[in-house]
Amino acid sequence: MRFALLRPKSLRSSALKKHTIVALVQDRPGVLSRFVGLIRRRGFNIESLAVGHSETPEISRITLVVESDHVEQVVKQLYRLIEVIKVSDVTDDPTVEREMVLVKIHSTPTTRTDIISLANVFNAKVVDIGTNSMIVEMTGAPGKVENFIDVIRPFGIKEMMRTGRIAMVRGARGHQASEYVEASNGHVAQPLN
């Protein structure tokens, strides 16, 4: 936090609304760069970004958390990218959101059991134990992950790595990558509105 004060105002994170954007994209070189480039053009800060394969080969799913009050235009402009198949702002939709964190916690023989019992409360797993540290893996909703980190912070966090948020819309709504593959027989004119 001390460091944060040295950064110019334009680089500091602000109190803008956080939006969760989910996108399906073709798995081609450069697609992530194009996607992120459009967000950068507007000067929006990306809080987290998770990319991986979807249920369909050659289509990837991106979950992006971005701070801005004006994402609607960006979402529309993301469609201009040739390799972007579907984009949704799911911030206000019912979703399941998850994040995973690995934390290397300072531990001594006396604090070890406290950490383990705390981890159990959060359904976190101890995945490595060393002489003066242990690594705990925790998965949960982003708020719960925050909670967990706050609780274990007093023990001393040596290293932390978060995957960034992934999100999926509940129920039948949402978007399956397979729908877009079947329709992909070249250039088809299709009403959007």
Partner: protein
């Protein structure tokens, strides 16, 4: 067809298959294999050697904008490609189908700071519709097909293909039987029927409707449909800078250009109208002025093929995503009965005469014909003579650069057909006119192509005059509106910065002598009485001619809506500031 081909031969054949006939480029190390192969195909694929890659890019833009076909430009790796960035950005802003083919270092050298290596795909991502790095010869047939498809369909735009030298040298049996796979790219051409009906109803019931016609109408070849639609409903038509030519300017329903240097009556009509039908224009800030006060009484219908344009700048009541031609055709099917139409026509009569009344009150061109006793050569005299001669001789196309002369050319010359007014609008690229005019002249050898430039922009790319001679192009005439300033910036300095002429006074060579040095005919005009003779001489000369019009130095473009002001508040004279 099952013979082995080098990558470079495949590139040539791919271009020929897509109907490409002309390419504008400059060779260099990494692109040499393509030039080696090009020699075999020179009967079908004309190469125009430009003096600078930027010139090649703008020439390809001029070719594309005047024909609707894809323009092709070529550069080698490193600086050869970075010089293409400006034309690519220009083509992106003005939705021009452009294909840039660039050589890249050998794939094993990528990322090693090899000689003339630049990450051009990374550099051009924000200024292209799409781009590619090709490292395998097998990918070439597919990539060329997809690239040209993307550049020319939907909202057209520039596409760059960067090809490593080894991919051009390697051989394979090309597989032309490729099927495009673009699940994320399905442009919408047909407008939604329900919204089209709603739009038709709104326009039929409007009391003061207005059409704004933009580049989209020209690109989708929708000018005949626009004319029929406007005539059927008797709606006045405003043409944006890029919409010029989409509607004949001598038509009784044509009222002129809107925006920062639009006519007062046009802007006033926009502010008064109750339904604003925008077809194929993007509500650029130079058109809208202060957005919050733009068309305050209007319900807005916006037709655009790019969904991200709708609602971007101006709030829209009826959005229609689709191709201008198809939407207009659909709208024409929604017209009411002949009786209703004739009632509508009589209703429109008062609206149109109201606009014409405003027009006569705010005399459009009058401002330019005021003259002091000691005036040397008013720029308006040049335009008046050009306009008269062009109208008499016909078959002309005008290519303009960026600045005061550009606005004068939009205001003071007449345009009747699409693709006869070509300019750099969105990007405002100085140096556009000379090379772009070359592209237009190559595409239209039967027309006289006038490149109208300022002395500032002319000096940015005038080296293409050598290319024009080498290619034997004769149907090109350059008019330099030479006022010894970067005039538009000077105008702003005069009006808003207390006449602090910082960095705007500009010297140049003797342009006529420069033209002679390039083996052109060069003419200098300093007096009003010599203007017409010079233009006549340019027409009489069988070859390229440059006329250096040394005009009065400090003349402004009027009217002007100051930046950030409402378009209803145009000023028409310095005294109004």
């Amino acid at each position: 067809m099952s013979e082995q081909r080098t990558g470079a031969q495949i590139m040539c054949e791919a271009l020929i298959r897509e109907g490409v006939e002309v390419m504008f480029g400059v060779p260099g190390g990494a692109i040499m294999p393509f030039y080696y192969a090009m020699w075999e195909y020179r009967d079908k694929l004309r190469h125009v050697l430009c003096r600078h890659e930027q010139g090649g890019g703008h020439a390809a833009e001029g070719y594309a904008r005047s024909t609707g076909k894809i323009g092709v430009c070529i550069g080698t790796s490193g600086p050869g490609t970075t010089n293409l960035v400006t034309p690519l950005a220009d083509a992106m802003m003005d939705s021009t189908p452009l294909l840039a083919i660039t050589g890249q270092v050998f794939s094993h050298l990528l990322g090693k700071d090899a000689f003339q290596e630049t990450d051009i795909v990374g550099i051009t991502m924000p200024v292209t519709k799409h781009n590619y790095l090709v490292k395998n010869v097998e990918d070439l047939p597919y990539v060329f097909k997809e690239a040209i498809h993307i550049a020319t369909t939907g909202r057209p735009g520039p596409v760059l293909i960067d090809i490593t030298k080894d991919a051009m040298i390697a051989k394979t049996v090309p597989n032309w039987d490729v099927k495009l796979h673009l699940p994320g790219y399905k442009p919408t051409y047909t407008g939604n029927r329900r919204q089209i009906r709603e739009a038709a109803e709104m326009l039929i019931n409007a009391k003061k409707p207005l059409i704004i016609s933009g580049n989209g109408v020209i690109m989708s070849e929708a000018a005949p449909e626009l004319r029929e639609f406007a005539e059927q409903l008797s709606i006045p038509v405003v043409t944006t800078l890029h919409g010029i030519g989409s509607f004949p300017e001598d038509h009784p329903l044509s009222i002129g250009m809107p925006g920062m240097h639009g006519w007062v009556h046009v802007n006033k009509a926009i502010q008064e109208c109750d339904v604003l039908f925008n077809i194929g224009a993007r509500f650029d800030d130079r058109v809208t002025g202060k957005v919050s006060t733009f068309a305050p009484n209007a319900k807005v219908i916006h037709v655009d093929i790019d969904p991200s344009e709708i609602g971007k700048n101006v709030k829209v009541q009826v959005p229609i995503v689709g191709d201008a031609k198809q939407v207009l055709q659909a709208l024409l099917e929604e017209l009411p009965s002949a009786q209703e139409l004739s009632e509508l026509h009589s209703r429109m009569g008062s609206w149109i005469s109201h606009i014409r009344e405003m027009q006569s009150k705010h005399q459009t061109r009058q401002q330019y014909f005021k003259r002091d006793e000691n005036v040397v050569l008013p720029p308006a005299d040049v335009y008046a003579a050009l306009s008269k001669t062009m109208n008499e001789r016909g078959n002309y196309r005008v290519v303009t650069d960026v600045g005061q002369h550009q606005m004068w050319a939009a205001q003071l010359l007449d345009y009747y057909r699409p693709r006869t007014h070509i300019t750099s609008g969105g990007a405002g690229t100085m140096g556009f006119a000379v090379p772009a005019a070359m592209g237009v002249a190559i595409a239209h050898p039967e027309d006289t192509v006038w490149a109208i430039c300022g002395d500032g922009g002319f000096q940015m790319t005038n080296q293409e005059m050598a290319t024009i001679i080498q290619e034997g192009i004769k149907n090109i005439k350059i008019a330099v509106i030479n006022n010894g300033y970067l005039g538009m910036v000077r105008q702003w300095q005069e009006l808003f910065e207390n006449k602090r002429y910082s960095g705007t006074p500009l010297s140049g060579p003797n342009f006529a002598k420069l033209a002679e040095a390039y083996y052109w005919k060069g003419i200098t005009v300093e007096r009003p009485e010599d203007v017409q003779a010079a233009i006549d001489e340019a027409y009489a000369t069988d070859g390229p001619v440059l006329i250096d019009f040394r005009v009065e130095r400090e003349v402004n473009v009027w009217p002007m809506v100051p930046q950030g002001a409402s378009i209803g508040d145009a000023i028409t004279d310095v005294s109004e500031l």
